[in-house]
């Protein structure tokens, strides 16, 4: 097994994976948890796998316990060589109180009821990405900490600006047209609620192409833009209720339990209360930035 420890915001994710390929895929996308590596015993300077192997069980337990207070922790155990290629079939979800099982032709994911412990079997990288998006969003929603939203997000003037729209509305175009501004996401925006009443967008580990991590780590969310392709460029404020409805529609969330759905709605409500939302009428060029910042 290969071990990779990631840290996003205040939470930590421990990946235990079967193959080097899986580890590399994850390491290219999720920021490494350097604090926890530093907390490991002397001799852990080489790879994380060797470090974990060298540390006695009690030392590892102590290292894990010391991170508990700092934030949430999840453990994902991922294996390869499962199922067959994705056939555009649906994700099926079964929840029985103790576990939640997501299955698709190309993956099977079993999580504990609190989503902190995950066993995932995948066919390929596409399956891995899809399963991780499902899991990550469900875990954040369960803890009321944040969401993964189907959208792109770009940094300008020290703020993150989200672009939301139906398929083909121009989310990825808006991101592409924004160069050289740093892009935080092109498919799944990682949004976390801050304790101080703000919303922070973190660099998305889950991008549409095989892109690696972006140049910016995290940035406060300045606003949400619902895209409308139009002849003239303009920006209109959107009411909170419309923003809530528009945002909920784009959250990566597979309905399987009423309490979780209610939490998803509560997180969306919190987001739209904290940041403004707009309808952005834009053409496919970068002139829309003139009306944003």
């Amino acid at each position: 097994m290969y071990l990779y420890r990631a840290k996003v915001g205040h939470h930590r994710i421990r990946f235990e994976v079967q193959t080097e390929h899986l580890k590399e895929w994850i390491a290219a996308r999720f920021p490494e948890d350097r604090d926890e590596l530093a907390a490991l015993p002397v001799g852990s300077g080489e790879t994380a796998v060797e470090a974990a192997g060298a540390a006695s069980e009690s030392e590892v337990v102590a290292a894990l316990a010391s991170t508990e207070a700092a934030g949430a922790k999840a453990v994902l155990y991922i294996t390869d060589f499962y199922g067959s290629m994705y056939d555009e079939g649906p994700v099926e979800i079964e929840a029985d109180g103790d576990t939640v099982v997501y299955s698709r032709k190309d993956y099977r994911m079993e999580t504990s009821a609190d989503y902190s412990s995950v066993k995932l079997q995948v066919f390929d990288d596409l399956a891995l990405k899809h399963a991780l998006i499902n899991w990550y969003s469900a875990w954040l929603i369960h803890r009321r900490e944040g969401l993964l939203v189907h959208s792109s997000c770009v940094v300008d003037g020290g703020k993150a600006w989200m672009f939301v729209g139906h398929s083909g509305a121009g989310k990825s175009t808006a991101a592409e047209l924004s160069a050289p501004r740093p892009i935080l996401s092109d498919e799944a925006t990682l949004l976390l609620l801050d304790a101080d009443g703000g919303v922070t967008i973190h660099d998305s580990p889950l991008r549409s192409e095989n892109e690696e991590r972006g140049e910016a780590d995290a940035c406060p969310l300045g606003g949400i833009h619902f895209l409308v392709q139009a002849e003239e460029v303009r920006r209109e404020p959107v009411g909170k209720v419309e923003a809530l409805i528009g945002l909920m529609d784009k959250v990566f969330y597979w309905k399987h339990s009423k309490p979780e759905t209610a939490k998803m709605i509560a997180v969306c409500r919190e987001v739209v209360q904290r940041v403004p939302a707009y309808e952005l009428h834009f053409q496919k060029n970068d002139s829309f930035w003139e009306v944003i910042s």
Partner: protein, 92 residues
């Protein structure tokens, strides 16, 4: 008095509500349908628990707002009929 006046009204259990800037959204977690109502609509939705008939709702709203009970009843009835139509409440 119309046919609905004294029937017992019951809110569907799977409805989640959110109030934002004086507007309310009533979300049906079963069907994923979303209904937007104004502040008065949200107030009546909340009142339904304690005042589950049109008569009780009318009495309460008319006294709260010192309004004409006949007019209030007509409005409440129309609103409740709409909520029934979209499946947010059931009646016996």
């Amino acid at each position: 008095m119309t046919v609905l006046a004294n029937q017992l009204l019951k809110r569907q259990e799977s409805i989640e509500t959110a109030e934002l800037d004086g507007e309310w959204v009533l979300l049906d977690l079963e069907s994923h349908s979303i209904t937007k109502v104004n502040e008065m609509g949200g107030y009546i939705w909340e009142l339904l628990e304690a005042c589950p008939t049109i008569s009780q709702l009318t009495e309460r709203v008319a006294s709260e707002y010192a309004a004409d009970p006949l007019q209030v009843q007509a409005d409440v009835e129309a609103y409740v009929a709409e909520l029934i139509r979209v499946g947010l409440i059931v009646h016996e």
